[in-house]
């Protein structure tokens, strides 16, 4: 049985990963605002949220691939959000709610595979759960329920593409490098 305990070192690492991703896609913030301004005149303003969602959901799957134990994805997202809360992010404590939702969203793919697979399959599954859970949350929070069915489908599609590309493909490419550098010891499949 793989370890399920979290030591101090793991906790620091999880929080660091969350914050590092935040620093790297700080550019994502501009991207988000830029997309929003660009898309709003076409009635697609909320789509910026969907298009950048993959970036916000990267830390979780990557933490899971790195530490390979229950809760890693959740902590990766949540501790990162807790860090950002104090690093001058405009959302303050509201970060924690998004971090919580995204943590659960990205954890589920690994839960459904019994925390035994850390490969393409579980990663793809996680991009699906992440898409559905975060979309479900926006259904209420961002009023997606009030949009036309057509727009919702479009947003759902955009969100899946973004999450699949960043939280799926890119995370897999990064973890491939980590595997080859012997940082991730074995990928159990």
């Amino acid at each position: 049985m793989h370890t399920t305990r979290y030591h101090l070192k793991d906790i620091i690492l999880l929080a660091l990963i969350g914050i590092i991703f935040g620093v790297i896609y700080y550019a994502g913030d501009f991207l988000y605002n830029g997309f929003t301004i660009l898309l709003t005149p076409f009635g697609l303003g909320p789509m910026a949220n969907d298009l950048t969602m993959g970036l916000w959901c990267m830390a979780g799957p990557l933490a899971a691939m790195l530490l390979q134990r229950p809760g890693a994805a959740f902590f990766g997202e949540f501790l990162g959000a807790a860090g950002e809360m104090f690093l001058g992010g405009q959302w303050g404590a509201a970060n924690l709610i998004s971090g919580f939702v995204q943590g659960i969203a990205t954890e589920l793919g690994f839960t459904f595979t019994g925390y035994r697979r850390y490969n393409w399959f579980s990663l793809t599954l996680t991009t699906l759960t992440a898409t559905l859970v975060t979309f479900g949350w926006d259904w209420f929070r961002n009023g997606y329920a009030h949009f036309s069915g057509q727009l919702d489908l479009l947003l759902l599609g955009a969100r899946f593409v973004s999450i699949f590309l960043f939280s799926g493909v890119l995370v897999k490419l990064i973890s491939n490098l980590l595997v080859r550098a012997h940082v991730i010891k074995t990928v159990r499949s």
Partner: protein, 217 residues
């Protein structure tokens, strides 16, 4: 007010607001958040930042709902826009009145959060300047080899994660040599009180929001 209680209160209210559509309640909460925010005497720049940047998502949501949905529901558009401001203003009201260490101490003492989570996260937060410098260094190392690394480049993340692993290792060792032992009781330099007054304040604030949600249109 006790930091943990304050945090949970704001989180509960934020979640509640997400599932209800009462414009007046939202506006009241925005007003409350604004007062709390002004109480912390923010600089002009911070204030502008906090008020203007959320205007982008808020405006986009409102326009989409109001102008582009079949129902042209401008009332709901206003609800959504004000909701964004509830998150931002209440959220920053917490962070601006609570230093990270005080919140960590409160979570450790009042909520019995294991110290390793509280201090591990704080240690990571304090590395921010180094993280920013490391990302710059990785990008420069790339430029010097004719490679431009951006947020879609696996190698940028790969290198950053390698650094993070070594920092986490060194920081954990340093904390341990500063006497930290996981799951061992610690004493408290500063006791964060959780008084009956805190509970009363939290409960009445929550009750007030519930009443408002039921009573107001």
């Amino acid at each position: 007010m006790n930091p943990s209680l304050k945090l949970f209160l704001v989180l509960i209210i934020s979640v509640e607001v997400s599932f209800t559509s009462k414009l007046t309640v939202n506006l009241l909460l925005v007003a409350a958040g604004l007062i709390l925010l002004l109480w912390t005497r923010p600089s002009g720049l911070t204030l502008t930042h906090l008020l203007l940047i959320p205007a982008i998502p808020a405006g986009a949501l409102a326009l989409t709902v109001g102008a582009f949905t079949p129902a042209h529901d401008w009332f709901f558009a206003a609800v959504l826009a004000s909701r964004v401001y509830v998150y931002v203003l209440l959220g920053s009201a917490v962070t601006r009145t609570t230093p990270p260490l005080t919140l960590a101490r409160s979570l450790e003492q009042n909520c019995h959060l294991p110290a390793k989570f509280a201090y591990g996260t704080l240690a990571a937060i304090n590395l921010l300047p180094r993280i920013i410098r490391a990302v710059k260094t990785i990008k420069a190392a790339g430029q010097m080899r004719g490679v431009t690394l951006s947020f879609w480049s696996p190698r940028l993340y790969f290198k950053a994660i390698l650094s993070a692993i070594s920092w986490a290792d060194q920081l954990a060792q340093a904390m341990e040599s500063h006497g930290f032992v996981e799951d061992q009781p610690r004493s408290q330099a500063q006791v964060i009180p959780l008084t009956g007054r805190d509970w009363a304040l939290g409960a009445s604030a929550l009750l007030l929001v519930q009443l408002a949600l039921v009573a107001l249109p």
